[in-house]
């Protein structure tokens, strides 16, 4: 995200810091690229197939325990909601909204529908005792981007908007102060999630979590289920397990540093990618959704400016050569 060099000194320091952190004046380029990347990645890679979502229909709706679904059931009768046609219709609408959100047509509405639809479908799937973690933050990110001006550039809405009464409000050069808060909030949520995971290991297990046997047991449990060869190799090397345990906790506990210090991001994110790839190769636990969300840390505005400068230099150099 790009920032200018002046600050408003008429407000108290805390308010200025708050505004500077959440609402800096910048373009919507990072938000738009995150929208395209995250929605397309969900549709193509991470979306659960209908067959998997429909498994929840075989359970007794009396067991539903998720507050989101219980809230919906206070408005919609359970016979209507816990029904093949209703949930399949919701799934279809959600996917159509996802396609519209990717191309950026009625972006705000379609992205909100996409985020909320997926939240409801997955919350329903995890309402019967079973619960998995990878999709939760992704769904929150989709909803938050739906509440932001993510269609202001690189979208059909933007193409139409630039031919409207206010063309300067659309496109990659248009500046606004509401294009950053959603990305920052998702960054904070990711930091909290990692910190929760790392601190739980330290608070529940203590230093015993680093004893090597803990990681051996965890990897062994998943090895007997998924049979990952790297898992078997890891558990046979005790000291490697100790080193991996320490690295895991350090990366998780200090991931939040990436939210506040831009220059630390490449190191922290590389640590995160290494952690998740290691977990996937040894335990088959697919946290690809979290790795995909690292896209929100990338400063696409700076990259775009650098690309434009290079393009200008190259075209200027070409013109000079032609003249010569």
């Amino acid at each position: 995200m790009s920032h200018s060099d002046t600050t408003d000194s008429s407000r108290p320091g805390s308010a200025t810091s708050w505004i500077r952190f959440w609402f800096p004046t910048t373009t919507a380029v990072p938000l738009a690229i995150c929208r395209i990347t995250l929605v397309a990645a969900w549709l193509l890679l991470f979306a659960k197939p209908w067959d998997q979502l429909a498994v929840a229909l075989t359970y007794d709706p009396v067991r539903i325990d998720q507050a989101l679904i219980l809230g919906i059931l206070s408005f919609v009768p359970v016979e209507t909601f816990h029904n093949y046609e209703f949930l399949h219709g919701l799934w279809l609408v959600t996917n159509i909204a996802g396609v519209l959100a990717t191309v950026g047509l009625f972006t705000r509405t379609s992205l909100l529908t996409f985020g909320l639809g997926n939240s409801v479908l997955i919350a329903h799937l995890w309402s019967y005792g079973e619960l998995h973690h990878p999709e939760a933050l992704y769904c929150v990110a989709l909803v938050l981007m739906g509440l932001s001006p993510s269609g202001r550039c690189y979208s059909i809405d933007s193409w139409i908007g630039r031919r409207s009464q206010y063309p300067d409000r659309w496109g990659p050069e248009a500046k606004m102060d509401t294009a950053t808060w959603a990305l920052r909030l998702v960054q904070c949520l990711l930091g909290i999630a990692y910190f929760s995971s790392g601190s739980a290991k330290m608070l529940n297990g203590g230093l015993a979590w680093w004893n090597g046997a803990t990681l051996q047991t965890i990897v062994l449990t998943d090895y007997v289920r998924f049979g990952m060869p790297a898992g078997l190799w890891l558990i046979q090397s005790f000291w490697l397990c100790v080193a991996a345990s320490v690295t895991t906790v350090v990366v998780e506990v200090f991931f939040f540093v990436a939210v506040f210090t831009a220059a630390s991001r490449k190191y922290v994110l590389m640590g995160g990618v290494g952690l998740h790839m290691g977990i996937y190769l040894t335990m088959a636990a697919p946290f690809f959704t979290w790795m995909a969300m690292y896209v929100i840390f990338i400063d696409f505005e700076s990259l775009r400016r650098r690309f434009l400068e290079t393009e200008t230099l190259v075209s200027g150099w070409g013109r000079r050569r032609v003249r010569a």
Binding site: T16, W126, F195, S197, S264
Partner: protein, 248 residues
């Protein structure tokens, strides 16, 4: 205790570093005092806990509370160190605070509040705001893991064992492996009728026997050893047909 030990390492490093050239550490004498208090309380707490664990339960809670406080300081130290190493956020242009900012700020606080609240709830029932205590428990050697499988013997030719998987039943892996098979192994009478109905409505051929199996894997001297326990469960032939095909 673990947190205190971690804090101790960071505090000592910070203290030694700041003696030579003063730096903007948030870990100063206050945190050193807090650390000493925490370590002392932890030590006393552990000694008391080892001798009379029930009588001094409140004391252990106090120690945990102080330990958490030290943990918070430790995190502040980490952030301060990162800011010192890499610098903070660049300054940005901002406009006057408007209604939109206030509303968005309220939303931000709500979302962060919900996420933090979810971390302290006993059960994760506020999806997508949930806690992440992933693999939090510590284990001791030797490392063990248990895996459940279910086989069935077909009732008609060709007689053979088939593995009954969650996918084949259209059921959740989690429910099948952590609830259904263990129950069939321990006390089949509780779930047998319901399971046989599920089986009859699936694509599996009619079965005469079920064989739930529990395999325990143990890592001994870097070698994986395993042993299995099985149970044979006879099925009621009347329930082996789909519900709609059964005579009423």
């Amino acid at each position: 205790m673990a947190v205190s030990s971690l804090s101790a390492v960071v505090c000592v490093a910070a203290y030694l570093g700041s003696r030579k050239s003063p730096r903007p550490w948030s870990l100063d004498r206050r945190v050193v005092r807090l650390l000493v208090l925490t370590c002392a309380l932890s030590l006393v707490g552990h000694l008391i806990g080892a001798t009379a664990p029930e009588a001094f339960g409140w004391y252990a809670g106090l120690v945990d509370g102080v330990d958490l406080l030290a943990w918070a300081w430790f995190v502040c130290g980490g952030l301060a160190a990162a800011l010192w190493l890499w610098g903070g956020l660049p300054p940005a242009t901002t406009r006057p605070v408007g209604v939109r900012h206030l509303l968005l700020s309220a939303l931000i606080v709500l979302v962060l509040g919900l996420q933090v609240w979810a971390l302290f709830r006993a059960r994760p029932t506020m999806w997508p705001f949930i806690d992440y205590p992933l693999y939090g428990a510590a284990h001791r050697a030797p490392s063990r893991a248990v895996h459940y499988r279910l086989y069935g013997l077909t009732a008609q030719e060709p007689i053979a064992f088939v593995e009954i998987t969650a996918e084949g039943l259209g059921a959740s892996w989690f429910v099948h492996h952590t609830q259904v098979i263990p129950q069939l192994l321990i006390d089949p009478s509780d779930v047998l009728e319901e399971f046989q109905q599920t089986l009859a409505n699936s694509d599996f051929p009619p079965l005469q026997l079920l064989v739930p199996e529990r395999t325990t894997f143990a890592l001994v001297n870097s070698e994986l050893e395993e042993f299995s326990e099985r149970q044979v469960v006879r099925l009621d032939p009347d329930l082996s047909e789909p519900a709609e095909a059964r005579p009423r």
